[in-house]
């Protein structure tokens, strides 16, 4: 007889929700979290889409400690000496089930863990699981936590982007550097009203702001700014391989340069830096996804690279919450049926395949490769946009020619074939 019905490794978006589902169904659950509290080792940009949490917490959704509801979507194309920004606001972005929220993982993850604990899950904090316990047949039957061996009928692995256990569980190889990004972020405290003034937002609302172009000085990656309740998150997310091999400055210098940009510095003025953090983003999506089940074990969240970066939208946490919910429910089903073998856990795969999680992963299967080779987005298009905008906005008293005549050389400078190829590539990938 195992010590627990289920063990969940990691208490982030996927793990807490999986544990919540298991505990709610009356299963004995142990969650082992390596942070001294949930969220202590986690970091996001970041923003989460509300739909996934509405599905898990229909009755107490309003209690979730969100930072701000995102009412402004901003995207900037940044060249060394210009910045072109789109600011989009829409009633549709604010509707229940379509809305998104900025979060800080400290408070957010602790709330999620609290829901699992209140439902009956037991917690061990401060210990990283280094090894899985397997029986003679190779079935996962538990974990080693420190010196202790703890057994369970099923193990749900939600150990995040830097998983050291997925390889042990399903034999997956380490994700290649070309398919992972590194995020570096700083949090700046600023009074609530000041944030609303600087970002032109209503109380409780805020902005999600993505940058492409010179913020990485031309290599694969981008900048982020998210408004929290009384702080601003600012960061860089950069492809690890591209940065390691081609970046002209280190990632932390990219962040420093972004902070000092004339478009960005005013929003951070007099704000107090309170934290400097780093985390990986598994941007490979389905191309790097490991097997999601093996005998006795399920995998959900960042460790399964359930993440997409479309350039204008970055998603991972909503996939993790949904996958955590499905993993928890599938584990319950398998426990009830008395079969937690790979075959018994197939209901998890079926549920995922039937949901937006795997459907999106398949839809966006070509995005990582497209983005990786989209060099002109990081150096080229921001400059083209600058030149076009300068043509429109610069007035110096010299006679103005026909717009077509002044615009065409700029576009031609990029190469019509290049433009055509990129538009076609984007259409195919997205």
């Amino acid at each position: 007889m195992a010590d627990f019905d289920a063990i969940v490794v990691g208490s982030g978006c996927a793990g807490s929700v999986a544990a919540y589902e298991l505990a709610k169904a009356g299963k004995s659950v142990l969650v082992v979290e390596r942070g001294n509290f949930a969220g202590a080792k986690n970091m996001t940009g970041g923003r989460i889409y509300g739909h996934c949490l509405r599905a898990v917490f229909p009755d107490n959704f309003d209690e979730i400690p969100f930072e701000r509801k995102v009412s402004h979507e901003r995207i900037s194309l940044m060249s060394p000496d210009s910045n072109f920004t789109i600011d989009f606001a829409s009633d549709e972005l604010l509707k229940d089930g379509q809305e998104s929220y900025t979060v800080l993982r400290g408070p957010f993850d602790q709330w999620l863990a609290e829901q699992a604990e209140n439902a009956g899950a037991e917690y061990i904090y401060g210990i990283a699981v280094e090894k899985l316990v397997k029986d003679e047949s190779g079935k996962v039957i538990g974990i080693f936590a420190g010196e202790d061996e703890i057994t369970a009928d099923v193990v749900v692995l939600c150990d995040g982007a830097n998983s050291l256990l997925v390889e042990q569980a399903v034999g997956a190889k380490r994700v290649p550097a070309s398919q992972m990004a590194v995020g570096v972020k700083q949090v700046f405290e600023l009074p609530e009203e000041e944030i609303e003034k600087r970002f032109q937002c209503n109380p409780g609302e805020g902005a999600a702001w993505l940058f492409a172009g010179d913020c990485t000085h031309g290599t694969f990656g981008g900048g982020i700014i998210y408004t929290n309740k009384d702080s601003i998150s600012i960061g860089i997310v950069a492809g690890i391989e591209a940065t390691a091999e081609k970046a002209t400055v280190p990632v932390y210098q990219m962040l420093e340069d972004l902070k000092n940009r004339p478009e960005v510095a005013p929003v951070l003025k007099d704000a107090k830096l309170v934290e400097h953090s780093g985390h990986m983003v598994p941007e490979g999506g389905i191309t790097t996804m490991p097997e999601l089940t093996a005998d006795g074990v399920l995998i959900a969240g960042d460790n399964a690279t359930m993440c997409v970066n479309l350039g204008y939208t970055v998603r991972g946490m909503d996939y993790a919450v949904a996958a955590g919910q499905m993993a928890g429910q599938a584990a319950v089903k398998a426990l009830d049926a008395g079969d937690t073998s790979k075959a018994g856990l197939k209901c998890y795969i079926d549920a995922l395949e039937d949901s937006f999680v795997m459907k999106d992963m398949r839809q966006f299967k070509n995005v990582p490769a497209f983005m990786e080779n989209f060099d002109r987005m990081f150096c080229g298009y921001p400059e083209m946009m600058r030149d076009m905008m300068n043509t429109m906005f610069v007035v110096d008293g010299t006679p103005v020619g026909p717009m077509k005549k002044s615009m065409m050389p700029i576009v031609k400078g990029m190469g019509m074939m290049n433009l055509f190829k990129d538009v076609r590539g984007a259409m195919k990938a997205l």
């Binding site: 202590a40 080792k41 992972m180």
Partner: protein
């Protein structure tokens, strides 16, 4: 030798973070130690480590200190097959503790 340019002092930023540093256990180890590492591989880590733990001084001497580690694992992904010989999570209750995240 690299010409990676930076002006920012990340150590000052790290000092704002909360850490429980495990003085007796290095959770990351480089093959043969930082000084002996292939400079081209070491450059990669200088570029990608968000905590600027991989350093090269004016004399070209390479050094690495795990104490300010943010535990992101980027060095493991970048150079896990070359100079990053060991990457483990810190011992129980040790390491960085994000208050905001």
């Amino acid at each position: 030798m690299s010409d990676i340019k930076f002006t920012v002092n990340v150590d000052e930023y790290l000092s704002l973070n909360k850490y429980e540093v495990d003085e007796s256990n290095a959770h990351i180890e480089l093959k043969g130690g930082a000084e002996a590492c292939d400079p081209a591989e070491f450059d990669k880590l200088i570029r990608v480590c968000p905590a600027a733990l991989y350093k090269r001084d004016e004399d070209g001497k390479q050094s690495f200190d795990y104490a300010g580690c943010l535990e992101c694992g980027t060095c493991r992904i970048a150079c896990g097959d070359t100079i990053v010989e060991k990457w483990e999570n810190p011992q129980p209750t040790m390491g960085v503790e994000y208050r905001f995240g």
